[in-house]
């Protein structure tokens, strides 16, 4: 009997170790990439940290919304278009009032999220199909609105641009997200929907309402990210927010997010992932890689991480 229990303890320790490796790999990766690029660029990265980090605020805030969506087993490819459209609205409204611009941007984001949510939940169309459609649709709208010239914001907008302000905004948004996800039942409910929607419904979660509202929420969060993006650039061109969705997806997967969502999702995934992604891409840029080569490298890393973090026990087709 003792022999058996010793054996069991050893096995349990092993299972624990595997889980630890999974949890620590993104953090280890973050440190490794950071150190590596600092050595390769001869310390240029650390001395230009605010430059390297300038991308991270928008990515991290928007990634948090998508993190919620992916936890409940959905996907969202329309983030880039949401960001672009919201940024246009922010720029328009900034001429009247900055707070109005923030609210307006978030409202537009929420509205696009509601369109996604309506077709996904009510019309039962798979989320990646719906969001690919809205991605094209709203990208078209952005191009139409910026045909004549880029939409310029009020000069006050760019004056607000400071690292302290952006760090503070990001901390507040991510902090609120963390509390909601870890310390209220929001997180457990999302994970349950991702792990088994029908069973979650039979446990008393209003799954349809939840799914809809998470799309709206994610849209609103990206709408806020659009404000951060607008104060950085001051105007929006037809390519505003282009490819944000792929950046977010890569960031989340680098952060250890299981692509099918569910109970293995951790809040840290979106924070660590965004940092890792941004350091990786700005590091590669500082090294002088061409855009094409960077895409290739990112693609290889993306595939590798999906391979490591795919939750094969819960394998199912992504909706």
């Amino acid at each position: 009997m003792t022999e058996v229990s010793v054996n069991m303890d050893a096995e349990r320790a092993k299972a624990h170790k595997v889980r630890m490796i999974r949890a620590l790999l993104p953090i280890a990766g973050l440190i490794f990439v950071f150190v590596l690029f600092n050595i390769l660029t001869g310390g240029r990265m650390i001395s230009h940290m605010h430059l390297a980090m300038s991308q991270v605020y928008v990515t991290m805030i928007a990634a948090m919304g998508v993190f919620f969506i992916m936890t409940m087993g959905g996907l969202d490819f329309s983030q880039g278009s949401i960001l672009g459209l919201s940024a246009i609205v922010v720029c328009y409204l900034s001429h009247y009032s900055i707070p109005l611009a923030i609210v307006g941007g978030m409202a537009v984001g929420a509205a696009v999220g509601a369109v996604n949510g309506y077709f996904y939940v009510r019309r039962k169309i798979k989320s990646f199909i719906v969001t690919i459609c809205t991605m094209f649709l709203f990208r078209g709208l952005i191009k139409f609105l910026t045909t004549e010239a880029p939409v310029a914001g009020s000069p006050y907008l760019v004056l607000m641009d400071s690292t302290e302000f952006k760090v503070m905004c990001t901390l507040i948004v991510v902090g609120l997200g963390y509390i909601a996800f870890v310390h209220t039942k929001f997180g457990i409910c999302l994970k349950s929907i991702g792990a088994g929607e029908k069973a979650a419904m039979f446990s008393g979660i209003r799954t349809d309402r939840m799914k809809f509202l998470v799309y709206v929420l994610s849209g609103a969060i990206t709408g806020f990210a659009a404000f951060i993006s607008a104060i950085k650039v001051g105007s929006v061109t037809s390519s505003g927010g282009n490819q944000l969705e792929t950046q977010i997806l890569i960031a989340l997967v680098l952060g250890g997010m299981p692509i099918s969502g569910g109970a293995m999702a951790r809040f840290g995934n979106c924070v660590v992932g965004s940092l890792l992604y941004v350091i990786l891409s700005s590091g590669l840029t500082m090294m002088g890689f061409s855009t094409q080569l960077m895409q290739l490298i990112q693609g290889v890393i993306f595939l590798l991480f999906v391979f490591i973090f795919a939750d094969r026990k819960a394998i199912q087709v992504i909706k």
Binding site: V4, N7, M8, E11, R12, A15, I179, H183, T184, K185, I188, K191, S192, A195, G196, K198, A199, A200, M201, F202, S203, G204, I205, R206, G262, A263, D311, K313, A314
Partner: protein
């Protein structure tokens, strides 16, 4: 030539830290129905799954007719002469009946890389006719047939090539009486042809009447092999559990008055195509049973009460006048429901035991009432308390439910609702595929809850447990109520079956 068909020699198998089989050896003869019994997690299915190539082998050997065999997959096992009929659905959706029957053996219909579909359908139809399943057509999609018919298709699939060994793994629990009779007929035929059946079931009377030899496993250990003629049900229980099964199995009381107090009234409930105009009252402290054939609509009654039916008409109203139209309202008003489809509806498989138990009760596990913040220490303590109360066999509440055996999963489901302290409990097939030890626990638990004044609706295809446990039994037929009887020691299966068919 010897009579020995299969020798199981020193078979062991581990799943992670779980030792599913420990050095098991015994022999199985030709021309017999050899039953394999044991509680949940005793290793019955593990053994047969290795024999049929579903799980890889670890240590030990199988010797079939003097030849050592190592089945790599199910098709390989088929070629060696071993087939299996599984507990759940074993047919593939989206394929025709004929494609399912000849799955993995299409070669015989393929010429120059082209499949002769007509020839395959003709052959399948010939087999179906030979088996007497004339209502099933080879060229139709399996999806057009119900669970019962799909099981019949599996019987054809598993036995048409006259395999030396057919494994029947708890198939009967999912079948109605007619389906079972059909299966028994073919079991007898296979045995009379000189081939062997390995029969796994939790239904001991069924085991005793249908098998010749019985092998008992307990916690992965081989216990003994006995002749069915030499033992009684009590002996088997003792061998399986390892101790005398004492105390009451079902309820022992008769003639208790049902309270006049109505806690839930169901009026004219119709779910299009499934149930029609069902009305009844549930009283305080009562166990109300629902029986019938699996297609009778009785399972939908449970869903309808829980607000989970699609397009329901009619009303389900609590004593205080609250109408129940959706699941969340049902749960908030102290209604609990365990589904027949446990893995998809009762429990989130790919999630921890902790989250599963706490999920419906999260609102009362807050740090302080009024604020939305949940307390993880309360959640952990809550889950542990009720998991232990139900004696779930686990490594800890962090363990995922998917790693548990069927009986333990059911315990987690029950733990969740006991923790929620619901007053109206709807149990759909609560003992399906569960061994007697746990079954007895569940019956005792139901009795305890009844005495505490909770009301229970028990939906079951097993008439004996309805007779043994219920104050009142409603029998369903073709989606409507076809009869009702009160608890009585004189009640027997036959009077209920008459109302069912």
């Amino acid at each position: 030539m010897s009579d020995i068909r299969l020798e199981v020699k020193n078979i062991s198998k581990n799943f992670g830290i779980t030792r599913a089989l420990k050095n098991v050896s015994f022999t199985i003869n030709k021309g017999e129905v050899h039953a394999l019994i044991g509680e949940n997690g005793s290793g019955k299915s593990t053994l047969t799954n290795m024999l049929t190539g579903i799980y890889p082998m670890e240590t030990g050997t199988f010797v079939l007719d003097g030849q050592e065999i190592h089945p790599k997959n199910q098709v390989d096992a088929n070629n060696l002469g071993i087939s299996i009929i599984v507990q759940e659905l074993g047919t593939l959706s989206g394929l025709t009946v004929a494609e399912n029957i000849f799955l993995g053996h299409e070669d015989r219909f393929i010429k120059c890389g082209i499949r002769n579909t007509q020839k395959m359908n003709a052959e399948a139809n010939r087999l179906l006719e030979k088996y007497g399943f004339n209502n099933i057509k080879a060229n139709k999609m399996v999806d057009e047939y119900n669970f019962e018919d799909r099981k019949l298709i599996e019987i054809v699939k598993a036995t048409y090539f006259h395999p030396k060994i057919v494994v029947i793994d708890e198939t009967t629990t999912a079948l109605s009486q007619e389906g079972r009779e059909e299966l028994y007929k073919h079991m007898k035929r296979i045995r009379d042809e000189g081939n062997t059946i390995i029969f796994i079931s939790h239904d001991l009377p069924e085991i005793l009447s249908k098998s010749d030899t019985i092998t008992v496993l307990r916690d992965g250990d081989y216990i003994t092999t006995v002749k069915s003629a030499d033992v009684k049900e009590e002996d088997l229980k003792k061998l399986m559990v390892g101790r005398e099964v004492t105390g009451d199995y079902y309820r022992a009381d008769y003639g208790e008055e049902i309270s006049k107090e109505v806690v839930l009234s169901v009026r004219n409930v119709t779910v299009p195509g499934i149930i029609h105009d069902v009305s009844f009252d549930l009283h305080k402290g009562e166990i109300l049973g629902f029986g019938g054939l699996s297609e009778s609509g009785m399972h939908e009654v449970g869903k309808a009460i829980f607000g989970a039916s699609y397009d329901r008409e009619g009303s389900v109203v609590l004593a205080n006048g609250t109408p129940i139209n959706d699941i969340t309202t049902a749960i908030n008003n102290s209604i609990a429901y365990t589904s027949k489809d446990r893995d998809n509806e009762s429990i989130v498989i790919n999630e921890s035991i902790r989250d599963n138990i706490a999920l419906p009760s999260l609102d009362k596990l807050r740090r302080s009432p009024g604020l939305p913040f949940i307390s993880w220490s309360k959640i952990k303590a809550f889950a542990l308390k009720y998991a232990l109360e139900m004696s779930v066999k686990m490594q800890g509440t962090e363990q995922f439910v998917s790693e548990l055996s069927g009986g333990n999963k059911q315990k987690v489901v029950l733990a969740r609702w006991i923790g929620k302290d619901s007053d109206i409990i709807v149990l759909d097939s609560p003992t399906r595929g569960i061994d007697i030890g746990v079954k007895q626990d569940i019956y005792q638990l139901m009795n305890k809850m009844r005495k505490e004044g909770k009301s229970i609706i028990m939906i079951s295809e097993e008439l004996m447990e309805l007779i043994g446990m219920c104050d009142r039994i409603i029998i369903m037929k073709d989606g409507t109520v076809s009869g009702e009887t009160m608890r009585s020691p004189d009640l027997n299966e036959h009077s209920l079956i008459e109302m069912m068919v």
